[in-house]
Each structure stands twice: as C-alpha cells, then as structure tokens.
Amino acid sequence: MEYYLHLVLNGLVIGSIYSLVALGFVIIYKATKVVNFAQGELVMFGAYVCFALTVQLGLPFLISFFMTLIFSVILGLCLERVILRPMIGEPIISVIMVTVGLSTVLKAVIQLFWGTSIRVYPQVLPTEPVWILGLPVAPVYIAAFCLSVVLFVIFSFFFKYSTMGIAMRATAFDQQAAQSMGIGVKNIFAMSWCIAAVVSSIGGIILGNINGINPQLGHLGLKVFPAVILGGLDSLLGAAIGGLIIGILENVSDGLAQQLFGLAGFREVAAYVVLVIILMIRPYGLFGTHEIERV
C-alpha cells in the first residue's frame, strides 16, 4: 500500500510539471491554433539558461531565476516573429513541421553550448525529507508542486480579469471579431509565445532542481500531448488536471507493470496507450470545446 502511495505522490509531482508545460502548450493553441512540438525544447532552454547563470556565472539562484524568465520572453518574441508569423494561414502539416524543425534547431543550439552530459543544479532547498502521510518527501518536490499550483492560480486570474488576458481569450474565440474591436492580434500571438516560453522555463528549472538536466529533457514535450488531449486542447483547467492524471497514471502503471509482469519502462508508453483510447472515445478531451469535425 505504501508503495502505491509513494507512486501516486511521485506522479503528482511529475504531473505538476507536465501541467506547467501543458499550460504553455494550451496557451499557444488557444490563441494561435498552432500545435507546438517544440514545447519540450522550450523547457530545456529554460533549464539550461538558469543552469548557466547559477553555476557557470555564479549568480544567486533567485536572480538567475528571474533573468531566465526574461530570456524566455525574448526567445518567445523572436520565435514568434521569425518563424511562426510567416506560417499564418499555411496548411496544418507545415505548421506542425515548422515546430518540429524548430525543436531540432533549439536542441542543437543547446548541445553546441552545453554538450550532452548531465548537469546538476546546486542544492537550493534543504535535502532533509519532510514526512507526509508517513512517507518521506524531498522539499524540492513540495516546492515544485506548490509553485505549479501558484502559477495556475495566477494564470487563471490573468485570463479572467486582466485586460490582456481577456483580449487573448477574445482572440482565441474569434480572431476577426477581436481585431475589429481594436485588439492587436499579432501582439496576442507574440504574447502567447512569451507566456508559453516562460511557463516552460519554470518547468525546466524545477525539473533541473529535481533530476539534473541533459539534452534528453526535450522528450518531456512528447509527454505533454497525452496530457493536453486528455484535458482538452484548449482548456487551461484541462491542462492542469490532464497533466496531474497523466503523471499519476504513468507512475502507477509503471509500478504495476513492473510488479505484476516484470515489464520495464512501461512509463514510456503508458500515457500513449491512454491517448489512443481517449482519441477513440472523446477526442475533444475532458474539458475541451467540442468543435472537432466528425469525419
């Protein structure tokens, strides 16, 4: 029993990071209808920049954390302006492939600067475990979970009450109507890429604090697809819940497969098996708008 509780707890933490990355994904999809296959590389970018600032330049962690966020904003702006804007109105396969190409470029750039070895963050939080429900949990896990919850609350309020957030929702709902009401749709596009880069960077920094970072981190982007499809491609709440569910499910099914069948590494595909089932039954996800065309 304790074993499963442990699996669930670990799943929650990993899931909260999936949620963050999924949040970035959903924001881009909501505002621009672009499916971003480079989301994992945005995570990696943030993780490596923060690593470089803290370890290689020796800045205090908090300062480098905020500087990383600024770098992410710049990256988001550049990507949108240079790569995504020419793709407006292109067929969906071109848009998918441009983000795929982008992901390989980003990955290559990161490898050029930092090589392929695993890098470890300095210990920011104490290593003494905290006991929850009779289980030892590292403080970094708790911090990760709390940080994601806080970010989700901030973004929900941002979308609900701030002028920019409302403008973004309006653009997502109907681009032309939004434009005729005086909303700069291009700015909204840029804004959504910035936000996506920022939340992904935060996810990357958290991950770096937990496991260290290596160029395989980009694979995380692939884990996000099941999470967003489960939650619904255009739902923030869906991203949060989908991420948590996929995180838990992955960990628990991995543990089960290992214990019952001796099958290693089921974690890699568990989410995708679920994904296929969801796509067959409910393609628009738990909270997504039911607008998919039945073919």
Partner: protein, 348 residues
C-alpha cells in the same frame, strides 16, 4: 501536339499519360543508363550511399502518397518501416526465402498501418498526427520489449538477401536490387495516383466533405491509403534490414519518421518526383555536411566534436527555411527551372 510554347491535350487519355513528350522518355532513358553503369565507376562507399537513397526513395514515395496526396499526416512512418524490417527479419530467420518474406513483411506492415489508420475515420489534422505519434512510440516500445521475437535492445542480425540462389552480398549487387524495388515503388505510386483511388485521395485531401458528397467512401479510401503506404514502407524496411544486416529499435525512432516527413516537404508534398528529390537531398545532406566539416577542421580544430549537434541543427534549419520560403519544395524549383528553359527568351 507538342511544342516549345506548351502542351495542349485533346483527350483525357493523353493528359493522364505518364510521359507527355518523347524528350521526357529519352532523357529518362539516358538517366537510367547512366545510373545503371555508374556503380562501376564509383567507390563502394558511394554505391552504399546510392543504396540508402534507393531505400529512402521507397519510404518517401510511400509517405508522400499518404500525407502529400491523401492529406493524412503520419508521424509514425519510421515505426512502420521498422515493422517491415522486423517482420522480414523474423520470417527469413525462420527459413522463408527472401522474396516471399519481403512481400509478406509488406503485407504485415500494411495490416499494422491500417490498424493505426482506423482512428483516421474520426480524426483529422492535428488529432491524427498525435494518434500516429502514439503509434510510433508504442511500436518502438514493442520492438524494444518483445525480446523473444525482436531481440530487444540487443537487436537482430540478418543475412544478405538470396533470390533463386543468387546472393546479393556486395553493395554493387545490392544496388541493382534496391534500384529495382525503388523503380517499382515509384511506378506503383505514380499509377495509383492516376487511377480512381488516387483521385479519391486527392479529393479527400482537398476537402473531405465535398469528397464525401460526390460519393467517395472516406473510410475505405483512407484505409486504402494507409494500406498501400504501409505496404511500401514495409518493403523499404525489409530491404533496409537485409542491407544493413543488423537492426535495433533505435533505428526506427521518431527521428526517422521526422526525416521522412522532411524528405517529402523538402521534395514537394503530393509530388512523386518531389519524393525522389527529397530522398536524395536528405540522404546526402549528412555526407555533404561531414565533407564540409572535414575541410573546415583545418581552420576550426574542434569542429568534429560539435558535428553531431550541428548536423541535426542544420537539418532542422533547412526544414524550417524550406517551409517558410519554398513550401512547395524542390519539385516546384525543378518545374520553374524547366519552364525557364522552355520559355527562355519570353520569361512571362
């Protein structure tokens, strides 16, 4: 009618011919004669590159039928090629002769492809892309963990192909075999596109609702596209397996699917000739880059350590640049070049 200022067709049969002019036929014939005798003048390494190109042509032309012509985005083509490779490997190891094993492997891959094509009934666009991405990851997981059949991470060693007692054990002999299959695949796809099925595929790609309303059975034709495409992917996989003689799951990872998609985008979506261009381009790209890196290493001694990262980055960069500046690919460039010569003094 033929002339310098264009082609004028008076019948449908004339228009749907593969070759419109005698010039096309004769230049293709010359090209093939040169191709057939070229291995005798090339080093064994260069012939091995030609082999890789031939196999890539089969894969690219099959993916282009599915994605370029029928509009069904597949991020799982690399895994389908893997299914063909493992199927033909298992069949030949169990004692079946090469040729029937290869065809049967194609059939098995077609079945697998059609199973993963079933969601295309309900899904399109991005949802289908993600469904095929799931196929990709699940299949590679199966290659990795069904150790009793596939050998798992250790991989599977295979023999060279033997057809009627003739052993294709050198690059040179293999060249003629892969070339034959590549030509057959190109002819097959070219002809599929000229038939009723091919026109149905294009109609489905252009707009599924109007296709349906003129009486095209969407599910039937989509599955057919998945079936034909996966069959050829299986053939490509089988040839690849017996050419390299050693297969492991890593060879069929998502990067392979992406490089095949890159081939058809850089070549030209929906164009058979474009698939060939794309296959040549993407197969030779790493060679050209490593050639450049070798020559630059005199100036930048550390360049080889960064080479792998740079190669992937340049690959991605070329893909992005093509998508932004030439979305119709090399096939369109080729057309423009041809019409330039045709119309030479009168550019417009």
């Amino acid at each position: 009618m033929q002339g310098k200022c264009g082609l004028f067709f008076t019948t449908y049969a004339r228009e749907s011919q593969v070759f419109h002019t005698g010039f096309q036929k004769s230049s293709l014939a010359i090209f093939f004669i040169v191709l057939l005798i070229s291995p005798f003048f090339l080093s064994s390494y260069q012939v091995s590159l030609l082999n890789l190109i031939n196999i890539a042509v089969i894969g690219a032309v099959s993916l282009n039928l599915l994605t370029g012509s029928c509009g069904q985005i597949s991020l799982g083509h690399g895994a389908f090629i893997g299914v063909g490779a493992y199927a033909s490997g298992v069949l030949t190891l169990s004692g079946m002769p090469f040729l029937p094993a290869l065809i049967l492997a194609g059939g098995i891959t077609a079945m697998v492809g059609m199973i993963f094509g079933i969601p295309s009934l309900r899904l399109k666009g991005i949802y289908l892309a993600i469904a095929t991405l799931a196929a990709q990851l699940i299949l590679v997981y199966i290659f990795m963990h069904w150790t009793s059949v596939t050998g798992g991470a250790i991989g599977m060693g295979l023999d060279t192909p033997v057809i009627f007692g003739f052993d294709f054990d050198t690059d040179l002999k293999m060249f003629y075999l892969t070339l034959a299959f590549a030509v057959l695949a190109v002819i097959m796809v070219k002809n599929v596109l000229r038939t009723k099925s091919g026109r149905a595929f294009v109609a489905i790609r252009d707009f599924h609702l109007s296709a349906e309303s003129v009486g095209i059975n969407l599910f039937y034709y989509k599955l057919q596209a998945f079936g034909i495409s996966s069959f050829l992917a299986g053939i490509a996989g089988g040839l690849w397996a017996h050419y390299t003689m050693y297969i492991t799951p890593e060879q069929f990872e998502i990067t392979l699917s992406i490089s095949y998609l890159a081939m058809i985008i850089i070549g030209g979506l929906g164009s058979v000739l474009g698939s060939v261009f794309g296959a040549v381009f993407i197969t030779l790209l790493p060679e050209v880059l490593s050639f450049i890196a070798d020559h630059l290493s005199g100036f930048f001694p550390n360049i080889s350590t960064y080479f792998l990262a740079m190669r992937d980055g340049i690959f991605g960069l070329i893909l992005v640049l093509f998508l932004i500046f030439e979305p119709d690919g090399l096939a369109r460039r080729w057309q423009l070049a041809k019409s330039y010569f045709k119309l030479h003094p009168f550019a417009h």
